[in-house]
């Protein structure tokens, strides 16, 4: 049996009693030793994509160096090894989300593809004109547009749950929107633009009370919080490998087995069939029914390594460390004159969106970049959120567990420089 992930991934498993050692963790991420514009790199764009630990990089290298073969079809040694590694990664993801079985884990390209798959394969055949799909006002475009498309195709209607001035979902409005025509709920777990953690357990409970299934967009949540899909009882859960310290081009769709089984394939091709003739094609069992063609094998295995690494540290400790760092950042950044924080939910993760009075976010980004500080500026693929707050763009610093208080101090110093430049 091939080990999934690097053996190192197991040795870093830290005793929960030992305090989180950020300096030690930073050693695992070679890119953090890079410089940008001659300054030490301060990477605060983790919500866009996270950096990769050495174990993920090594796993990808080793796969291509020693294990590369196509999977599920070769009878030779390498193919068997690659298949084992890939399926081992699937099992690791299942454990990571506490899914009941690995076959509930469909490997896709990204969160985006996962949402599209559910919209087209689950929702589309079930939606009638006048039926309703409920989303929130703080969705990423990837959890808006696939639903707009399916609504256009079926005559269903999109209903949007509003958020309050802090950027929190208005639960009473959500309850009110759940009506006799509601057929599906698709909701973000952690907002990428605001950092808000939505009350997902309650969201699912209320929907299920009316027999409505729920998809949760976990692109930002899965790398930041412990996620237990069985405790949440959600029907679908989606996240992206590249935001969870894994490779790009690989993502995960969790779906409850009976739902996945009842769904038609999303794409046709090799691997997703049992037998093909021109008269009749028999589809494969789940999850393979949804994985047409040669998948991103290296990506899947790399994601398995990332998950091994994350669980080695422990998501509880990651969440706790990031929470402390967010509190520090909120206080320090919030104290810079002229800064307005956008997204001040009580329950939030390490995402800090803000605007600087009199300075466009783009100019903030350029000045910080010259200091070696990487943040995101713009609308963060969530234009409706920014419209809600009446700003065309924000600057966003998004934290990871390898960020330090010293880096927050560098950000604050950079913001003072912004203010000086535009004084």
């Amino acid at each position: 049996m091939t080990t999934i992930g690097h053996p190192i991934a197991e040795t870093v498993r830290q005793d929960p009693a030992i305090p989180f050692d950020v300096e030690r963790v930073r050693q695992d991420f070679p890119i953090l030793r890079e410089r940008a514009h001659g300054k030490p790199l301060v990477y605060l764009d983790n919500a866009a994509t996270s950096q990769k630990p050495q174990v993920v990089i090594d796993t990808l290298t080793r796969y291509y160096r020693a294990e590369n073969a196509n999977i599920h079809r070769g009878i030779h040694y390498l193919s068997e090894r690659a298949t084992e590694a890939y399926e081992g990664a699937r099992a690791a993801v299942a454990r990571f989300l506490n899914a009941a079985e690995p076959r509930e884990i469909v490997f896709v390209r990204s969160t985006t593809e996962a949402v599209n798959l559910v919209a087209q394969s689950y929702a589309r055949p079930r939606l009638q004109p006048g039926d309703e799909v409920v989303i929130s006002a703080m969705e990423h475009h990837s959890n808006i547009v696939p639903w707009q498309i399916v609504c256009e195709q079926t005559g269903a209607v999109l209903r949007v749950v509003p958020i309050n001035d802090a950027g929190e979902l208005v639960l009473e409005e959500y309850e009110r929107l759940l009506g006799p025509r509601t057929r599906f709920v698709a909701m973000v777990h952690v907002s990428n633009a605001l950092g808000t953690i939505t009350p997902v357990r309650r969201i699912v409970e209320l929907a299920h009370g009316r027999g409505v299934p729920v998809l949760l967009d976990g692109a930002q949540a899965a790398p930041r919080l412990p996620v237990d899909v069985r405790a949440l009882d959600c029907d679908f859960y989606a996240f992206s490998g590249h935001k969870a310290y894994g490779p790009t081009g690989i993502g995960v769709l969790y779906g409850k087995a009976p739902l996945l089984e009842a769904m038609p394939p999303y794409q046709g091709g090799g691997d997703m069939i049992l037998s093909v003739s021109f008269e009749k094609t028999l589809y494969n069992v789940i999850p393979f029914k949804f994985e047409a063609g040669t998948p991103h094998i290296a990506g899947g295995i790399g994601l398995g390594a990332a998950i091994g690494y994350l669980t080695g540290i422990g998501l509880e400790r990651i969440a706790a460390y990031e929470h402390g760092l967010l509190a520090y950042a909120t206080e320090r950044v919030g104290a810079v004159p002229g800064i307005r924080l956008i997204g001040t939910a009580k329950e939030k993760t390490g995402i800090l969106s803000f605007v600087v009075k009199g300075v466009h976010a783009h100019d903030v980004g350029t000045i910080l970049d010259q200091e070696g500080i990487a943040i995101r500026t713009g609308h963060h693929c969530a234009q409706p959120v920014l419209q809600r707050f009446g700003v065309p763009a924000t600057a966003r610093a998004s934290l990871a567990f390898y960020n330090t208080r010293a880096e927050i101090d560098a950000l604050v110093a950079g913001l003072h420089k912004v203010r000086e430049t535009f004084a």
Binding site: V359, H360, A361, H362, D363, T366, I367, Q370, T377, G378, H379, P392, A393, T421, F422
Partner: protein
């Protein structure tokens, strides 16, 4: 740091703070909208053109300091110019912000617009500086369509 000071020259900071011709032009006979989806910059340009001469020009919208100052300085510098002269300025400006310092020629020929010579060191900001100019071209061509930098 010196790069930054070259980008945010005093003229640019001044025009960002107090943009000239920042108004809707009632008598405009040409308008166009420009949009930079990457950063949300958005500009509406109003041009009054008579006998091939830009008689008056104004703009509105929101954007970063570079695009705002670029719109302000552009409107100031093309007012009273013929269409062909404005087109020449566009090309000279475009060349200045997109080509190597040596190849770009003497920026002083561009007058106040030379303040944007530092933009070439910031490739992702070039679109901010050229958005008003692309919008001007659209307005002069009279197609009235929306231009986008993407």
């Amino acid at each position: 740091m010196s790069d930054l000071r070259e980008l945010y020259q005093q003229v640019i900071l001044d025009h960002n703070k107090n943009p000239r011709n920042f108004r809707r032009l009632e008598g405009a006979n040409r308008t166009a909208e420009g949009h930079n989806p990457l950063c949300g910059d958005q500009i509406t340009l109003y041009v009054q053109i008579q006998d091939d001469v830009i008689g008056d020009i104004g703009f509105q919208g929101s954007g970063c300091a570079i695009s705002r100052a670029a719109a302000s300085l552009m409107t100031s510098s093309v007012k009273g110019k013929t269409r062909a002269e404005a087109e020449d300025l566009f090309h000279a400006f475009h060349k200045m912000v997109t080509t190597e310092r040596e190849a770009a020629g003497d920026p002083r020929a561009l007058g106040k617009l030379a303040a944007f010579s530092g933009v070439r060191e910031f490739p992702i900001r070039v679109k901010c500086a050229t958005l008003p100019w692309h919008t001007l071209r659209a307005a002069l061509e009279g197609k009235g369509q929306k231009v986008s930098t993407e």
